[in-house]
């Protein structure tokens, strides 16, 4: 694609300013961007990963439920949102750079544009304090 849709452009620009961790994917299952605050939780810099296929991303960053059970890729929030085009909210765990399982809460919203355009999804997540 020569140029991203305006909604994704605006979403990325907004995400770049916000202090809330945010990731953006398109409807073709490409991870397009995550902001600096997200980098801190993910343990990766977007400048290094760049855009990547969701499958590759999910392999690189496995997720677990609150009890520590592995979440199969298609049951993760983002694939669910891209498939079903409805929001998903969930607590889950990911492995931090020190190998520990960190608890996060994620809200994933579909991005739906004018004219029935399904553009992708945006993930807003934050780390919950450890009990």
């Amino acid at each position: 694609m020569i140029q991203k849709p305006i909604e994704l452009i605006l979403m990325r620009q907004l995400a770049s300013y916000l202090a809330t961790p945010i990731m953006i994917a398109d409807h073709e299952r490409t991870l397009l961007y995550f902001n600096p605050t997200a980098e801190a939780i993910l343990g990766r810099r977007f400048a290094e990963t760049q855009e990547m296929r969701l499958e590759e991303w999910m392999q690189a960053l496995p997720l677990y439920d609150e009890m520590g059970q592995f979440i199969p890729p298609e049951e993760r929030p983002l694939p669910t949102v891209l498939r079903e085009r409805r929001p998903v909210h969930r607590r889950l765990r990911l492995r931090g750079s020190a190998g520990d399982l960190r608890l996060i809460e994620a809200t994933v919203l579909p991005l739906e544009g004018q004219g029935g355009r399904h553009l992708g999804g945006v993930i807003i997540f934050w780390e919950l304090d450890q009990p």
Partner: protein, 276 residues
């Protein structure tokens, strides 16, 4: 393809002795294909004079970039609308909530305008612009949403191998910390890439723009950067600030040319015609 400017002013018509050379009418551009296809880009006040020059045509297509008043205000005074039986198509950006007729009726109905759409004697058809490629007569068109408050499109019109891009209201640098960034993440890039002529919003002098961030228009500096990024052959400055006199616009144009861009800069003056 022949491009004629009938209105180049933005925001508000600005008649007066100080705006005679660039003109005070708001946005309206005529594009004529070699096969006789007539496109009218936007219906600012400039459309009134255009209507008197069209002669006998079989049909006309009016493509609105958006429905802000400066791009719409002349529509009710466009003579072809009052020609019985003439085929007139009006295209506008899609909306999820209201169709184009409902949105046009906010202006083209009492008390704002005494004539109702349904009273027009022409054969009027309203269309939501498809976001993508379509064809009108012998011209290939492409429309896409661009960065401007409210649903706003730009148009790319191609005759043969010659593309002309029209983005009269555009703020591609909004929220971009170092503009321009990558082409894929730049609003309007796909429409403007390699254009033989880019007609683009140039509303603000660089020193004025900071007060109007988010208003949907561009500083000259950003327009030049956008045109450079898109690799256009010619940039025509457009949507001139109603508060800028002809002399002001001359100065801005001269300053832009001094940056020695890799494309020709043309002044967006009412009456200017370019054959491509």
């Amino acid at each position: 393809m022949k491009v004629t400017l009938w209105g180049t002013r933005g925001s508000l018509a600005a008649a007066g002795p100080e705006t005679v050379r660039y003109g005070g009418n708001t946005s309206c551009v005529e594009v004529r294909g070699d096969d006789g296809t007539v496109l009218v880009l936007d219906a600012g006040t400039g459309i009134r004079r255009l209507g008197g020059t069209l002669g006998s045509i079989a049909s006309v297509d009016i493509l609105l970039t958006h429905l802000h008043m400066d791009h719409l205000q002349g529509l009710g005074f466009f003579a072809p609308l009052y020609q019985p039986g003439l085929e007139v198509h009006i295209w506008g950006p899609p909306s999820s909530t209201l169709n184009l007729q409902q949105r046009l009726l906010r202006y083209l109905s009492p008390p704002l305008f005494p004539v109702r759409l349904r009273e027009l004697p022409c054969r009027l058809t309203l269309h939501d612009v498809p976001l993508g490629r379509f064809r009108i007569g012998g011209l290939d068109l492409e429309a896409d949403l661009v960065c401007h408050p409210g649903p706003t499109v730009g148009y790319r019109i191609t005759a043969g191998e010659t593309p002309v891009t029209y983005i009269p209201d555009h703020e591609p640098a909004l929220g971009v910390q170092h503009f321009p960034s990558e082409p894929a993440w730049t609003s309007g890039f796909a429409l403007a890439r390699g254009a033989a002529l880019l007609i683009h919003d140039a509303q603000y002098a660089d020193e004025d723009y900071p007060r109007f961030v988010g208003w949907g228009h561009s500083a000259i500096r950003d327009v030049l950067a956008f045109a450079r990024l898109a690799g256009v052959q010619r940039l025509m400055t457009f949507h001139h600030n109603p508060g800028y006199s002809d002399d002001d616009l001359d100065r801005l144009l001269e300053a832009a040319r001094r940056t020695r861009p890799p494309f020709q800069i043309l002044p967006g003056r009412e009456g200017f015609t370019l054959e491509l």
